[in-house]
């Protein structure tokens, strides 16, 4: 009996400790959960703004929602310089298949009185009217893109598709000479007659020096994930004589490489692609892709922010800027 009483006494102590630990554990766990709830709330309206960096300018970026590495490079360049410009960047992406949505974001930027607007401008966009409207709303607009609008435009910052096409044609013909039979896959984010595309014109100009060489196929790439493969397969099936593919986006380049490998045409079909990705680099190392022309979209973004800063600082607006490109091949980067 006394032993049982002693056991009860010890058990009571042990349970008191267990109770204390359970109470402490429950307190800590609940406190942790409450902390999590506060943290979750902080990501919304009630977030702790003191932890965020305050900026002088709000810079709106409007660009299509696409996996084209040109745009990731563009945004990366903008972010590089945004801190130096003391600007917080607000990115609006619209579906590449729905360019009208770009107008909505443009409108929002103007009515919300953003300080600056960097907007992707396809070749045929009414960018002049937008520049005027932005000016009236007091919003500094910097149009960026791959090709300057027809007739030119001040402040426009982009890469030259014409030069890109010329370089591609030169590489292909430099390898294949007059026997070059080229298939071109144009960017999906553009509209209009493909023969009006500066890239096509660039390739066409390059092959003029190689009589007999010709562009056998010209198509515009699709928007889907496998559009590159679809486009390449389509060209090669429709034009069995094609011995060179020129692609203008990373997705199309990788898709074309896979099709060439699948059709066992490595070495028979030369590929000159665009942009840089680890996958493209791997295909270059294996000799499936001969070269990739990389437009310096990062610099486009950086130059856009610099142009914004110049205008905000009262300096005269820059002229249009066309950034260059680099060439990735098995022999390295040029």
């Amino acid at each position: 009996m006394l032993y049982f009483a002693a056991v009860m006494k010890n058990a009571a102590r042990i349970l008191a400790i267990v109770f204390g630990l359970a109470f402490l554990g429950a307190t800590l766990l609940n406190a942790d959960l409450i902390g999590r709830s506060r943290k979750a709330l902080a990501s919304g309206i009630f977030k702790d703004q003191s932890a965020l960096v305050a900026r002088r300018y709000e810079l709106v970026v409007v660009m299509p929602e696409t996996d084209d590495s040109f745009f990731s490079g563009l945004l990366s360049g903008i972010m590089d310089r945004a801190a130096a410009a003391d600007a917080a960047v607000q990115v609006f992406r619209y579906p590449a298949s729905s360019p009208d949505d770009a107008e909505r974001y443009f409108d929002i930027a103007l009515r919300a009185k953003a300080d600056g607007l960097i907007m992707y401008t396809p070749r045929n966009d009414p960018v002049a009217g937008r520049l005027e409207a932005a000016g009236k709303a007091g919003v500094v607009m910097i149009p960026v893109g791959t090709d300057a609008p027809a007739g030119g435009l001040p402040r426009f910052i982009g890469s030259s598709s014409l030069l890109q096409g010329f370089e591609g044609g030169r590489i292909i013909c430099g390898k294949l000479g007059s026997s070059a039979r080229i298939g071109i896959i144009l960017p999906a984010s553009r509209e209009g007659d493909p023969r009006d595309e500066p890239i096509y014109k660039g390739v066409a100009s390059a092959i003029m020096s190689f009589p007999g060489a010709r562009i056998s196929a010209l198509i515009r790439g699709g928007q889907g994930l496998l559009s590159g493969e679809e486009s390449a397969a389509s060209i090669l099936h429709a034009n069995p004589g094609i011995n060179a593919l020129f692609c203008t986006s990373a997705r199309d380049t990788i898709g074309a490489a896979q099709v060439v490998v699948d059709l066992n045409k490595v070495g028979k079909v030369m590929i000159v692609g665009a942009d840089e990705t680890p996958e493209i680099d791997r295909y270059i190392e294996k000799g499936v892709i001969q070269a990739s022309i990389v437009r310096d979209s990062r610099r486009v973004g950086q130059e856009a922010v610099l142009a914004f800063m110049d205008i905000k600082a009262g300096r005269p607006a820059r002229e249009s800027i066309e950034v260059g490109f680099s060439l990735r091949s098995a022999r390295g980067i040029k």
Binding site: N30, I45, K47, Q90
Partner: protein, 491 residues
């Protein structure tokens, strides 16, 4: 002070148990409430957006109504709703921070400002009856309202996405919280139970020990140690009273025991006296039985002695005189005490008679120190021993034998030694041992006569165990019987 009583301790312990349980339940309740509140907060952002959208709709509606009716009531409605819209917009972030959500809020706020600006311009143009202007401002405000709704929807999507992510985090934790709180409640319940059990033992333990002590004392274990109780409550008081009672009982029983032992000793003494008296009576009875014929014989011998004296037969007269004297001595109660000198005189007569009977066949020797003649001794000790020597020891000795009777003081002077020795056939050691053992036994001697055993018995009784009879004998070497009598029996 309240803990000094059992009632107070019951109340205090019950309160502790209740408090523990209440704390556990309250805590789990608060935790659940906090969880619910956190979930509610997760969606509060969306509620703010909902308010903004609602006030935007109502502002638009009131503006449209005003533009259509131009009534003061609709104008008041518009002013009220637009004010609420502005207030809701002010809840949104307006600073420029590197955060998508905050920038969206800033955009919405800017759009609301732009909307209200157009709306104000629209109302003013309406009041100024500038139809193209208010139409244009109204369209602009409609366009801005659409953009606000677009961004609100986008922001709500972000909030919802954040909320879902946060809620999924909660969802993972809720199970742990429930398990933890359940464990807390179980621990609290067990804790309460243990407290109750422990308290019950604390309360009943001393009572149980007291009850055990009471049972032990009831069984007669008056030295059972009482449990040490330091409590100052009723149990402590009971224990103190019980201890005092135990001491009283112990004292009372000690006194009773002492008295009982004294009475027991007295009773034993009395029983021993009665036993001795009884045995003496037996011996006397036996002696009386042996005296029936000697009395008749004594009287007859007296008559014969007178006859022989008349006839002048001197030798016959001596014989009868010796015989009559011996019988007279023998007829007296054997339990009486006599002097060693009386015993010597009796033995001398007996030897004279034996010599008359056996002639020169046996040689008798009788010696007695003067120092022992006055020593008190039971009567008829020596005669049976001499009779045994002649009747048993020397009976079969055809060549005769010798019987010596001696009375002297022991070497240390503490005893009188009466010795009867013969040169008879002697006895085996086992026979010697048997005779001595039978002499010590308290068995009935009625059918055995007065012999060595009778002598041993009477010496023991008369000297209260201080005297002794020793027997030495070997086959063919005779027998010596030695009686030790305490010298203190001098008259």
């Amino acid at each position: 002070m309240i803990l000094g009583t059992i009632r107070g301790r019951i109340i205090a312990n019950s309160a502790v148990v209740l408090i523990v349980m209440a704390v556990a339940c309250l805590y789990t309740g608060l935790a659940s409430s906090e969880l619910a509140r956190s979930v509610e907060l997760l969606f509060r952002n969306n509620l703010v957006m909902e308010d903004l959208s609602r006030t935007l709709d109502s502002t638009e509606a009131s503006l449209s109504t005003y533009l259509m009716t131009k009534s003061s009531d609709s104008l008041k409605d518009y002013i009220r709703e637009s004010t609420r819209l502005a207030e809701n917009a002010r809840k949104l972030n307006r600073s420029i921070k590197e955060d998508e959500v905050l920038l969206l809020q800033r955009d919405i706020n800017g759009l609301v400002v732009d909307y209200l600006s157009d709306a104000e311009a629209c109302v003013a143009a309406k009041r100024g009856r500038d139809i193209p202007a208010y139409t244009q401002h109204f369209q602009e405000s409609e366009r801005t309202a659409d953009l606000i709704r677009f961004l609100v929807a986008r922001l709500e999507g972000l909030f919802l996405s954040d909320s879902v992510v946060a809620f999924s985090s909660f969802d993972r934790q809720i199970g742990r919280v429930i398990a933890t709180n359940a464990a807390l409640v179980i621990a609290a319940a067990l804790m309460g139970l243990m407290l109750l059990v422990r308290f019950s033992y604390t309360l009943t333990g001393p009572l149980s020990r007291l009850a055990e002590a009471a049972r032990a004392i009831g069984r007669g274990e008056y030295d059972h140690e009482l449990p040490a109780l330091d409590s100052s409550d009723e149990v402590g008081t009971m224990a103190a009273a019980f201890s005092s009672m135990q001491e009283s009982v112990k004292r009372a029983f000690a006194e009773l025991k002492s008295k009982s032992e004294v009475e027991k000793r007295l009773m034993e003494e009395r029983m021993r006296g009665l036993d001795m008296e009884h045995k003496l009576k037996d011996a006397e009875l036996l002696a009386l039985q042996t005296q029936i014929n000697p009395h008749f014989l004594f009287n007859t011998l007296q008559a014969g002695m007178q006859l022989s004296m008349v006839e002048g037969a001197d030798r016959t007269t001596d014989f009868l005189e010796k015989l009559a004297g011996f019988i007279r001595y023998a007829l007296k109660p054997p339990s009486r005490s006599v002097l060693v000198s009386d015993e010597i005189e009796c033995v001398a007569r007996y030897i004279w008679l034996l010599k008359l009977r056996f002639g020169e066949r046996f040689d008798f020797s009788l010696e007695a120190d003067d120092a022992v003649l006055g020593v008190e001794t039971p009567a008829l000790l020596l005669q049976p021993l001499v009779e045994n020597s002649v009747g048993h020891g020397l009976k079969d000795r055809e060549g005769g034998g010798r019987v010596e009777v001696r009375a002297r003081v022991s070497e240390d002077g503490s005893s009188a030694l009466l010795t009867v020795s013969d040169t008879g056939v002697g006895m085996e050691a086992s026979e010697v041992e048997r005779l001595l053992r039978e002499g010590d036994d308290d068995e009935d001697l009625a059918d055995r006569g007065i012999g060595l055993r009778n002598v041993i018995r009477r010496v023991k009784l008369a000297t209260h165990g201080r005297g002794a009879v020793e027997l030495e004998s070997r086959p063919g070497e005779g027998t010596t019987v030695r009686i030790r009598l305490p010298m203190e029996t001098h008259r």
